[in-house]
């Protein structure tokens, strides 16, 4: 019972479909092998740029200059990685990115729950329009926001302060959360809420002690998504964060890329290091992610 709303998120029918168990009797035909090879080749093309990074990030500058990018390094060199790590205050950027994305993930989920509670449970008048109003945050191009917000945050003394980005993206990400949770709460089992009301629970109490715990799996999917989306943002952080110690990971790399005297091995190593946190995150949350991408799709 408690997981009812959450299971609606996983694609229907996915529970009973052990793919590949059914047709074991018939042998694999040559054309099926060809399809497999073609698809595997496609996957290889997709990861190929990242493999190139991996090969070249561990070359010393001399080795890089004298070798073909497809050749393995002569000896493992950590020069580029060290140069990037210390020269660009990477730990600071990493912390900025984690702090900003983490705060947005939490705050945007809270905001989505509050909005969705009024829309999905309260069924206030004009709720379809309200969802559209909140969705605007997702539709509006960021260049429409950046100049007025730049001035606003400047007046408030929030420029180059992580909170300028946190506030902005809390609103932008909560658009999707409000939309998804509103439709989920619209079909929330009524009996549970009525029982709570009869037991004397206030609205806020029902929200906190009944609805939120039941929605937990969905909320964690949303958090993972908000975290990644915010981590990857570029335009508005570029506009709002200008001092060296306020930059996020993508901004540090972009800045390094723009400097002419940057050594190529440093840049390649930096790109690799910037990818690693995302890949670790991807490996940890792979399941949650695939469940989540499909969550908003058909509704």
């Amino acid at each position: 019972m408690t997981t009812a709303p959450a299971t609606r998120l996983s694609p229907p029918g996915s529970k009973h479909r052990p793919a590949g168990t059914k047709h074991k009797k018939r042998g694999r035909t040559p054309s099926e092998w060809i399809v497999l090879v073609l698809i595997a080749l496609g996957a290889l093309i997709v990861v190929f740029p990242m493999l190139l990074l991996l090969i070249n990030a561990f070359k010393s500058p001399v080795d890089y200059a004298n070798s073909n990018p497809l050749e393995l390094p002569e000896a493992l060199s950590f020069d580029g990685i060290k140069a990037f790590w210390s020269g660009n205050n990477f730990p600071r950027a990493l912390w900025n990115s984690v702090f900003i994305s983490g705060m947005v993930a939490i705050l945007a989920v809270v905001l989505s729950v509050l909005n969705a509670f009024a829309i999905g449970i309260g069924r206030v008048k004009g709720r379809t329009w309200l969802i559209l109003v909140f969705l605007m945050a997702n539709l509006v191009p960021q260049e429409m926001l950046f100049d007025p917000l730049f001035k606003l945050y400047d007046d408030l003394g929030l420029l180059s302060n992580p909170w300028s980005v946190i506030i902005t993206f809390t609103v932008i990400q909560s658009a999707f959360g409000t939309y998804l949770l509103s439709s989920l709460l619209g079909t929330f089992p009524k009996e549970i809420l009525e029982a709570a009301a009869v037991d004397g629970a206030s609205r806020f109490r029902s929200l906190r002690s009944i609805i939120v715990p039941i929605l937990k799996p969905t909320l964690s999917v949303l958090m993972v998504f908000f975290f990644i989306w915010t981590w990857n943002e570029f335009l508005l952080p570029l506009a709002f964060l200008n001092t060296d110690d306020s930059l996020t990971v993508p901004l540090v790399l972009e800045q390094l890329n723009g400097e002419r005297q940057t050594d190529t091995t440093t840049l390649v190593a930096g790109t690799l290091i910037s990818i690693i946190p995302t890949i670790i995150f991807f490996l940890i949350f792979q399941r949650t992610l695939t469940r989540g991408i499909t969550a908003g799709a058909v509704k």
Binding site: P11, P12, G13, S14, G20, H23, E32, L36, L38, I39, A40, V46, P49, M50, P69, L111, L114, A118, I121, G122, R123, F134, M136, A137, V140, P141, E143, M144, L145, F146, D147, P148, L149, I167, T168, L185, K190, E191, L193, E194, V198, R203, W231, N232, F234, L235, V249, P250, L253, E254, N257, V268, T271, I275, T278, F282, T290, I293, T294, A297
Partner: protein, 322 residues
């Protein structure tokens, strides 16, 4: 428990009633929950929209300069501005790279992964390959852009140039990003396709799980080949997902910024401008923020119109099915 649910309650239209029984406060109490959301959306989203819409009817140099009323000047100027028109032309190529190619490729890859790899070679292998295709989606676009600009470096030290030199035996030194429009825009499009491909693959594969396996088995027994099955069963079943993918990626394409900013900076000679990038440049370096506001407002209007058209079309398609 059932006895509790039978507590008498007022018969309101079932569809409009709040889902928690009324007790004082009535429905008004729910509006309290909008307070943080309403304030934040008002300040962060609607204040900028209104300010820029208003500004688009003024000339303004920014800072402490006076605003000068301009009427429709900025809006008329847009249609005579070759950079603006070029940036919208490029949007069509961006739509090819972010919507059309990924959706078509995604259909083929998802169908092959689900139908052939998943059913004949095992689910583990197909989820592994699916994850591989999805990987670029979670990389920061800026980081992916830096990676591509490294591969596409001009002169003979670029990775792609070295690779081509190795293949052809002659020294190749193409300036992919800064040389000419055709190679610059193509490179940018390749980056976009590379980033986008995983999204339709994952969505379509989830959609395919809805299709009854019996349908496939029956058609297989009837001697239908793979392509016939794809057209007669797969495609109609996952049409809603195709719609969603097309809508979300089209909106993303209209707003595209980072790939152009990182790879070409709009060059060579402003030929790879996209509207977002143009608006950004005008806000930062231009002499008239009113004009920049007009560019940004026009993009916003286009995004809203496209979303409405898509949603209407989807509603009509759903009604036809019902």
């Amino acid at each position: 428990m059932p006895s509790l649910t039978r507590t008498p309650r007022k018969q309101v239209h079932a569809h409009d009633a709040p889902r928690i029984p009324q007790r004082g406060g009535g429905r008004l109490g729910y509006w309290l929950y909008f307070i943080p959301g309403a304030i934040l959306v008002g300040v962060v989203i609607f204040y900028p929209i209104i300010r820029n819409l208003r500004l688009s009817f003024f000339h303004w140099r920014g800072g402490r300069a006076e605003e000068e009323f301009a009427g429709f000047d900025n809006w008329i100027a847009l249609f005579q501005d070759s950079e603006y028109l070029q940036s919208f032309q490029n949007i069509f190529l961006v739509i090819v790279a972010m919507v059309i190619v990924p959706t078509l490729l995604g259909l083929v890859v998802a169908a092959a992964l689900f139908d052939v790899v998943g059913r004949r070679f095992g689910g583990k292998l197909s989820s592994f390959l699916r994850a591989t295709f999805y990987l670029p989606q979670i990389l920061p676009i800026a980081v992916a852009g830096v990676m591509f600009s490294w591969i596409l470096k001009p002169n003979s030290d670029g990775v792609l140039n070295q690779f081509l030199s190795f293949l052809t035996g002659n020294e190749v030194a193409v300036n992919w990003l800064g040389g000419q429009y055709s190679t610059a825009i193509t490179s940018t499009m390749v980056l976009m396709i590379w980033i986008q491909i995983g999204y339709p693959v994952v969505i379509f594969m989830a959609a395919l799980q809805r299709v009854e396996p019996e349908l496939y088995e029956a058609s297989e027994l009837d001697g239908a080949n793979w392509f016939q099955r794809f057209r007669a069963i797969t495609l109609p079943m996952i049409r809603p997902e195709v719609f969603v993918v097309a809508l979300t990626t089209t909106i993303a394409a209209l707003k595209v910024f980072a790939p152009v900013f990182i790879l070409t900076m709009g060059g060579p000679s402003k030929s790879t401008y996209v509207p977002s990038f143009y608006a950004y440049q005008e806000f930062i370096r231009g002499t008239d923020k009113g004009y920049a506001a007009a560019i940004a407002s026009s993009i916003t209007i286009v995004v809203l119109i496209v979303s409405v058209i898509f949603i209407k079309a989807q509603h009509r398609a759903e009604r036809k099915d019902a």
